[in-house]
């Protein structure tokens, strides 16, 4: 099998607070044959700025594509926001030659150049389509038998599908396949495609927490042992802010263990919990971890 080599793009949130995602990715992916190359000089993808400054957003996304371009590598991003932003930038540049030359001029001052030759992968399609479910299955040493997980894909990995969604935008299944490869079961629930509320948190925090609370209540009702996520913003809302979300919707019965998929992958590969950042999950994960011990 050809070795896979990808430029690891972390973005802001993972490298500044969601350390468990980065740790579990760095522990698991190289063991599955993916060489991760650091993207020196990377910056924010600009996604949150797109609401107030189009040119600033486009510059930020393009300069990260340019860094990967100069490394001669495709990008692996772990964040749904970055994933959408980088691909939207590619579309905007493809469609508008004026924009392209305006951004190219600015990039030149930073010594950067984007040749339009970079493909952007999310962890989900990198694992499912590049590494492959069989290879994930082969790496399992300690199957997560007897555990049932609900999944939360998050919005910006699936929508807008005009960018070419890595999975069916209304009925995604790749994350389920990747969880089942670990020996666990998956549970479907009607609210699977609902938003975690993260993008509303800055302007309307109570409404954002209510969205997270309603999502968590839906997961609790489907009788899952835990929830698997693949985006740092979703993780922050559903894991770190679970207590606040419970308080806002007034439902103290909510108790949902939330994991990054790569943490579950690492556990199934038999890797030590510490290296997977499992002490950083703030939701009640100890019960699940105890069952695996």
């Amino acid at each position: 099998m050809k070795p896979l080599k990808l430029a690891l793009y972390l973005g802001c949130t993972i490298q500044s607070e969601q350390y468990a995602y980065e740790m579990s990715v760095r522990e698991t992916l190289p063991r599955l044959g993916v060489e991760l190359v650091e993207m020196e000089g990377a910056s924010c993808c600009g996604h949150p700025i797109k609401n107030v400054s189009m040119p600033m957003w486009l510059y930020l996304s393009t300069r990260n594509l340019a860094i990967a371009s100069q490394l001669g590598l495709d990008i692996l991003t772990l964040c749904n926001g970055c994933y959408m932003s980088l691909r939207e930038a590619q579309k905007a540049l493809d469609e508008d030659a004026n924009l392209r030359s305006r951004i190219a001029q600015l990039l030149e001052a930073e010594g950067l150049k984007y040749e339009g030759d970079v493909k952007v992968y999310h962890l989900l399609d990198a694992l499912h389509d590049l590494v492959g479910v069989d290879r994930v299955k082969d790496a399992v040493e300690r199957p997560l038998e007897g555990l049932r997980f609900a999944t939360h894909y998050g919005c910006h990995i699936l929508r807008p599908s005009e960018l070419g969604a890595p999975d069916d935008p209304e009925d995604p299944h790749k994350l389920e396949e990747l969880i089942e490869a670990l020996g666990a079961e998956t549970v479907d629930y009607p609210e699977k495609l609902d938003c975690c509320g993260a993008e509303l948190a800055m302007n309307y925090s109570d409404a954002a927490l209510t969205m997270a609370g309603l999502k968590l209540r839906a997961v609790q009702r489907c009788d899952a042992d835990g929830l698997a996520v693949i985006c740092p913003f979703c993780m922050r809302m559903l894991d770190a802010k679970q207590d606040a979300a419970k308080a806002v919707i007034g439902d103290q019965r909510i108790s949902v263990p939330v994991f990054y998929y790569t943490q579950l992958l690492g556990l199934a590969m038999g890797l030590p919990q510490e290296g997977l950042g499992l002490n950083l999950n703030l939701s009640p994960v100890d019960g699940v971890l105890g069952r695996l011990a």
Partner: protein, 189 residues
């Protein structure tokens, strides 16, 4: 201002006046036919005039469930030429950008794109917008990221950082002066 806009939006859909009839009377899409700026061009490209008010966008909208917000009404107000009123209203900042409306619109309107264009027009016209965005922009200008690496708690409430977790140094632009110069120039635009 917010109450006024809500009242007008309400009138668009209630009181026995169908939105379609208002749409017929009012100059459909008029403020958009002669584009005066780049942002208005973006609004035009999101095709608000194509909406036939089926309400699919609002039925799946998480913000509509919780806030005084309705993507269909916003698109209707743009059709009715009430763009200035929207730019001064807080409703355009209530969208969670989940993009379900864009995905599911049977007429390819993309209400979320209409809302984003309205946000950009607000900034372009020098009208007030949520200050959180300025904080994010200045953090990017200074550090290249919206947030610098933080100390975070474990479940046992010990505080850890990248170094204590054995993670490599965080990424940031190599030449901050050149980076900030480019960003500064873009912020002025």
């Amino acid at each position: 201002m917010r109450c006024e806009v809500r009242f007008m939006a309400f009138n668009l859909v209630k009181d026995g006046v169908s939105v379609k009839s208002i749409w017929g009377i009012l100059p459909n899409g008029m403020p958009l036919t002669s584009c005066t700026s780049e942002m208005e061009e973006i609004l035009r490209r999101s095709h608000p005039e194509m909406c036939y008010h089926c309400g699919k966008c609002a039925s799946g909208c998480p913000s509509a469930r919780l806030l005084e917000f309705n993507p269909r009404v916003i698109v209707g107000m743009v059709q009715a030429g009430l763009v200035d009123e929207l730019l001064k209203s807080s409703v355009i900042w209530m969208c969670a950008s989940c993009l379900k409306c864009k995905e599911r619109c049977p007429s390819e309107v993309a209400p979320s794109d209409v809302i984003q264009a309205l946000r950009l027009m607000t900034v372009e016209r020098g009208l007030p917008f949520p200050e959180g965005y300025s904080t994010l922009m200045f953090s990017i200008l200074e550090h290249g990221m919206i947030q610098t690496p933080q100390e975070v708690p474990t479940r046992e409430l010990e505080f850890v950082d990248r170094k204590s977790l054995g993670l490599p140094e965080a990424q940031k632009p190599k030449d901050m002066a050149k980076f900030s110069e480019a960003i500064g120039r873009l912020m002025e635009e």
